[in-house]
Amino acid sequence: MLYSSVISERFRHPRFFGDLADADAVFEDVNPLCGDRVRIQLKLANGSVADARFKGDSCAICMASADLLVEIARGRAIGEVLALAPDDLLTRLEAKIRPSRITCVTLPLQVLKGALTAVGAAR
C-alpha cells in the first residue's frame, strides 16, 4: 500500500464527495504544487457546521484529506473547526506524508477555513 489504508479507503470510497443543495458557504483554492483545485461547500446552523461536502479532481492524499476533514467538521462548532491543525489530519490519515506532498493534506483545511472566513463565520 502506497500511503495508508485510511487514505486508500477514503480515496476509493469517499463518503462526502459531492455537492450540497443550498450551501451557506462555498470556497475553493488551488494547490500550488500541482494546480489541483478543491472546493468545499458548507451548511451552517447554530454556530456549527451542519453539513459539508467537497469536490475536486485531486490526488489520493488530497481526496482522503478532504473527505476526512469534512467528516470531522460535520456537526462541530465553528470555533472547533477553525482550531483544527494539519496534525489533526496527519494523525488520522495514518500515513507518513513526504514534505513535497504536505500541501495535498493541508489544502482542504485551508479551503474549509476560507469558506468560513468568506461568510464571516471566522472571527
Binding site: 502506497l2 486508500s8 480515496f11 500541482c34 494546480g35 479532481d57 485531486s58 490526488c59 506532498r101
Partner: protein, 405 residues
C-alpha cells in the same frame, strides 16, 4: 554496444538506488543528468582556471575569457548560427525569453499583437502576457487540434500587420509534437512579425539549425542538454539583435558610462550584463562536445526508438491514455499519459517506489492541460542513457499500479 550502453558509465548518478531499486531516470525533459565529462569540466575549471572574465589582464582572467568565448564558437556551430555575435549566454530558456520580451517590449505599442500557442510552456507564455499587459498589446493563441498539432490555418488567420512576435515551441514538452517552425516562420515573416522559438526540448534531442528554421530568436537551457544548471543560450539573428536596445543593465554590457547615460557595448556582450554564469557555460561547452561526439542524428534516432517502444507498450495497457502524436517520427523524446482512476501524482509516487523517476502534473503548461481536459499527466522522457529495459520496467510497473494504492 548500443548508444545507451556506451553512455551509461559516464553517468555516476545511475548507480544510485531509490527505494531500494536501481534508479530509472525518465525525467530528462525536466532536467537531464550530467555525464562525468561535464562534471569534470566544471571541477577542472575551478581548480585550474577560474577568474572573472573580460577586461582582465592577468593570465587566469585571460584563460577564463578564452574558455568562455570558445564555448560561444562551439555553440554557434552546434546550432548552425552564422556569427558568434548571435550567441548570447543566459541563465536558461526562461531568462532568454524574458530578455527578448523585455528588449522588444520597448518597441511594442498599444494595439500591437503577439501570437503564442496553446501548447506553450509557461516560460514562453507569461513573459508575453506581462509584455502585452504592460504595453496594451493583445495576446492571441494558436489552438491545438487533433492528436496535438498546431492549427496552422487558425494561425494564418491570427496573423496580421499588427503581429509583432510569434512565439512557439520547437518541441512541446508535453505532447512531444515537433512543430513546423520553418513554415510558421515563413508565414510570420511575410506578415512582418519576428519569430521566437523555444528550443528547450529540441536542442537536447534533435539536430537543430537555426538558420534553416528561419528563427529570429532561439532559446534553450544548458541543464536539459547534459549541461550544468544555471546556463543557457539565446540565439538572435544579427540584424535583429543590432536593432534592439539591451534588456537589462550592468557591467560588461557598456562601453562608456556617465551618471545619466551610457554607450552600449558591441554584440553579444550588450545583452550580457554582469558576471556571466562562467562555470555553467564551460560545462555547457563540455555537454555540446559530448553530444557532438555522439552526433545529434544518432541521439535523435536513439530517442525515437525509445519513444516508439513506450508508445507501443503503453498502448497495450487498456487503462492508459496517451497524449500527443502516436507517430514517433514526428515526436520529440517525451511521452505523456494518464492511468485511469489515478491522479498523475499518485502514479508518479507509485513509480518512485519502483525506482522510476517520471514527472507528473501540469508540466508548466496549464492552458494545454485545459485543452486536453485533464488536471495533469504523467510524463516519461528520455536521454542518451535511457534503455529499452527501463521502458519495459516502466510499462510493467504501470500494469500493477492499481493494486498498490
Amino acid at each position: 554496444m548500443t548508444l545507451a550502453e556506451r553512455c551509461r558509465p559516464d553517468f555516476a548518478i545511475l548507480n544510485r538506488r531509490v527505494n531500494g531499486k536501481p534508479l530509472v531516470y525518465l525525467d530528462s525533459a525536466a532536467s537531464s543528468q550530467k555525464p562525468r565529462q561535464v562534471i569534470e569540466a566544471v571541477r577542472r575549471y575551478y581548480e585550474t582556471t577560474h577568474a572573472n572574465v573580460h577586461r582582465s589582464i592577468h593570465t587566469l582572467g585571460e584563460e577564463a575569457t578564452a574558455l568562455l568565448e570558445s564555448v560561444r564558437d562551439r555553440v554557434r556551430q552546434f546550432i548552425g548560427a552564422a556569427q558568434r555575435e548571435e550567441i548570447v549566454f543566459t541563465r536558461g530558456t526562461t531568462d532568454a525569453i524574458n530578455l527578448v520580451a523585455q528588449a522588444i517590449g520597448r518597441t511594442v505599442k498599444a494595439g500591437d499583437e503577439v501570437i503564442v500557442t496553446e501548447m506553450e510552456h509557461h516560460s514562453n507564455l507569461i513573459p508575453w502576457q506581462m509584455l502585452c499587459r504592460d504595453r496594451g498589446a493583445v495576446l492571441k493563441a494558436v489552438p491545438v487540434i487533433g492528436e496535438g498539432f498546431l492549427d496552422l490555418e487558425a494561425f494564418t488567420r491570427l496573423l496580421s500587420r499588427r503581429t509583432r512576435v510569434v512565439a512557439v515551441a520547437h518541441v512541446s514538452n508535453v505532447l512531444g509534437t515537433i512543430n513546423p517552425v520553418r513554415e510558421i516562420a515563413e508565414r510570420a515573416h511575410a506578415a512582418g512579425a519576428l519569430v521566437l522559438v523555444d528550443g528547450a526540448q529540441a536542442v537536447p534531442n534533435l539536430p537543430v539549425n537555426v538558420q534553416s528554421l528561419g528563427a529570429d530568436f532561439y532559446a534553450f537551457s544548458g541543464h536539459k542538454m547534459l549541461g550544468p544548471t544555471g546556463g543557457g543560450v539565446l540565439y538572435g539573428r544579427r540584424a535583429v539583435l543590432d536593432s534592439l536596445e539591451p534588456a537589462w543593465g550592468g557591467g560588461e554590457m557598456i562601453k562608456e558610462v556617465w551618471i545619466d547615460h551610457a554607450q552600449w557595448n558591441d554584440l553579444p556582450w550588450r545583452f550580457e550584463p554582469g558576471t556571466p554564469p562562467i562555470a555553467p557555460i564551460v560545462g555547457l561547452g563540455a555537454a555540446v562536445e559530448y553530444l557532438s561526439a555522439i552526433g545529434m542524428e544518432a541521439v535523435a534516432a536513439h530517442e525515437r526508438a525509445l519513444c516508439r517502444l513506450t508508445l507501443e507498450l503503453l498502448a497495450k495497457n487498456g487503462d492508459t491514455t496517451i497524449y500527443g502524436p502516436r507517430n514517433p517520427e514526428i515526436k520529440g523524446a517525451v511521452v505523456a499519459f494518464n492511468v485511469r482512476g489515478l491522479h498523475p501524482h499518485d502514479v508518479a509516487h507509485l513509480l518512485d517506489q519502483e525506482g522510476i523517476a517520471v514527472r507528473a502534473g501540469h508540466h508548466c503548461a496549464m492552458p494545454l492541460m485545459r485543452r486536453l481536459g485533464v488536471v495533469g499527466t504523467v510524463r516519461a522522457s528520455f536521454s542518451v542513457h535511457t534503455t529499452p529495459a527501463e521502458i519495459e520496467h516502466l510499462a510493467r510497473s504501470l500494469s500493477n499500479l492499481d493494486l498498490m494504492i
